[in-house]
């Protein structure tokens, strides 16, 4: 069946903090605005249990913050499609073309806010135990580990926050990281004060064992050189993220890490294409900077669209 074609002023790829903020601004400027998301609306913070560093909120869940932002954007006319998947983009063209599984969109401007994906556990057994002891979403899968032994792998804020959340289920929780913790002091202190928790630093996970589902792991202490096996029912992996830029790599300039090269004005190497949020090459990646990027990208995209219509 031939795909139907539609025209939008602006298509925003990704519905995380950057994409939804851009949608809110674009909607308020009366631009016909489409947001395409093939994962979770909210992106990386959709699963966040408690956000304590977003200005104006002492503590708010990621779901609650995103639901409000989504409503704001939709109230100003932005349309969010979270069920159709992009198969191809042609950005160096007028108009720009975004082809999904079901439709073809042409548009005057594109904001890429496609964010990041969690890095997979780099062990061959990952494929065997994914969903059967190896997990990437503590909010979704943590409930299955009531009174069980859980390991969390990683040392950043996401890992430590995941560990803090999972202590409500676990009878014992290991936080395992190959170097020192980078998470903020407040989260680290909260974790270390919990008697269920054992923090294993300078420690690597070498192998996973189990019969059908995960039962134990081999860990290696880099300081002592000791390797041992410990029983765990589940591992939650939080070892960083990779940018979602594969779709754009033919046309958009990326840095060696796969992030989009664009300055504070969010402009990419193609006129009318902007990059916003964690997908953009920059030093600081926070919710607040994602919102800032979304704002900048939407305002400059509107300026670009206006220049086309002169």
């Amino acid at each position: 069946m031939e795909k139907k074609a539609f025209h939008k002023d602006i298509v925003i790829i990704g519905a995380g903090m950057a994409g939804l903020t851009a949608a809110l601004y674009a909607g308020r400027m009366n631009l016909s605005t489409l947001v395409l998301e093939n994962g979770l609306v909210g992106g990386q913070i959709a699963n966040a249990v408690s956000i304590e560093n977003y200005p104006g909120f002492e503590s708010i869940s990621g779901g609650e913050l995103i639901a409000t932002l989504q409503s704001q954007a939709e109230n100003f006319g932005a349309v969010i499609d979270e069920f159709d998947t992009i198969v191809k983009v042609t950005l160096n063209a007028t108009p720009k073309i975004i082809e999904t599984e079901e439709k073809i969109y042409t548009c005057d401007a594109v904001i890429i806010a496609s964010g990041m994906n969690r890095r997979k556990l780099p062990l061959p057994e990952e494929k065997i135990f994914a969903g059967r002891g190896v997990h990437y979403c503590e909010m979704c899968d943590g409930h299955a580990y009531q009174d069980k032994i859980i390991a969390v792998m990683g040392g950043g804020n996401a890992a430590v926050d995941a560990a803090n959340f999972l202590t409500k289920y676990a009878k014992k929780l290991y936080l395992i990281h190959r170097s020192e913790l980078r998470a903020d002091e407040v989260s680290q202190k909260r974790l270390r004060q919990n008697k269920k928790v054992e923090v294993l630093l300078q420690t690597e996970i070498k192998k996973l064992h189990g019969n059908g589902r995960l039962e134990s792991i081999d860990i290696f202490d880099k300081i002592s050189g000791e390797e041992k096996n410990i029983f765990v029912d589940g591992i939650f992996v939080n070892i960083g993220v990779t940018p979602n830029t594969q779709l754009f790599s033919d046309e958009i300039n990326l840095n060696p890490n796969g992030r989009i090269i664009a300055g504070e004005d969010c402009r990419t190497n193609i006129a009318g294409v902007f990059a916003a949020g964690d997908v953009r090459e920059k030093e600081i990646r926070q919710l607040t900077t994602a919102a800032s990027d979304g704002t900048t990208a939407a305002l400059l995209a509107e300026k670009f669209i206006r220049s086309l219509n002169r």
Binding site: L40, V41, E82, F83, G131, C140, D141, H143
Partner: protein, 76 residues
């Protein structure tokens, strides 16, 4: 009737429910955190304790938001 084993705070469960609504598929929510029997039924059906689990006949099922598989399961 289509059953969705899920719980309220699970974002992928919410996505499955929104998807079914977008396709006008009526479904029953079986909350595995609120109802122990639903939790047991979910584990018995899928052999594991992951959600969401979608089924129409208590035999064939899909775990997670896998659109092509859900479409095939429900004939959408």
């Amino acid at each position: 009737m289509v059953k969705v084993y899920s719980f309220e705070a699970c974002p992928w469960c919410q996505k499955v429910k929104k998807y079914l609504e977008s396709k006008n598929v009526a479904y029953e929510v079986h909350d595995i955190q609120l109802n122990e029997e639903d939790f047991k039924a979910c584990v018995k059906l899928s052999g594991d304790n992951m959600v969401p689990v979608i089924t129409a006949d208590d035999k064939n099922f899909v775990v997670g938001f896998d659109k092509p598989k859900i479409d095939a399961l429900l004939g959408i």
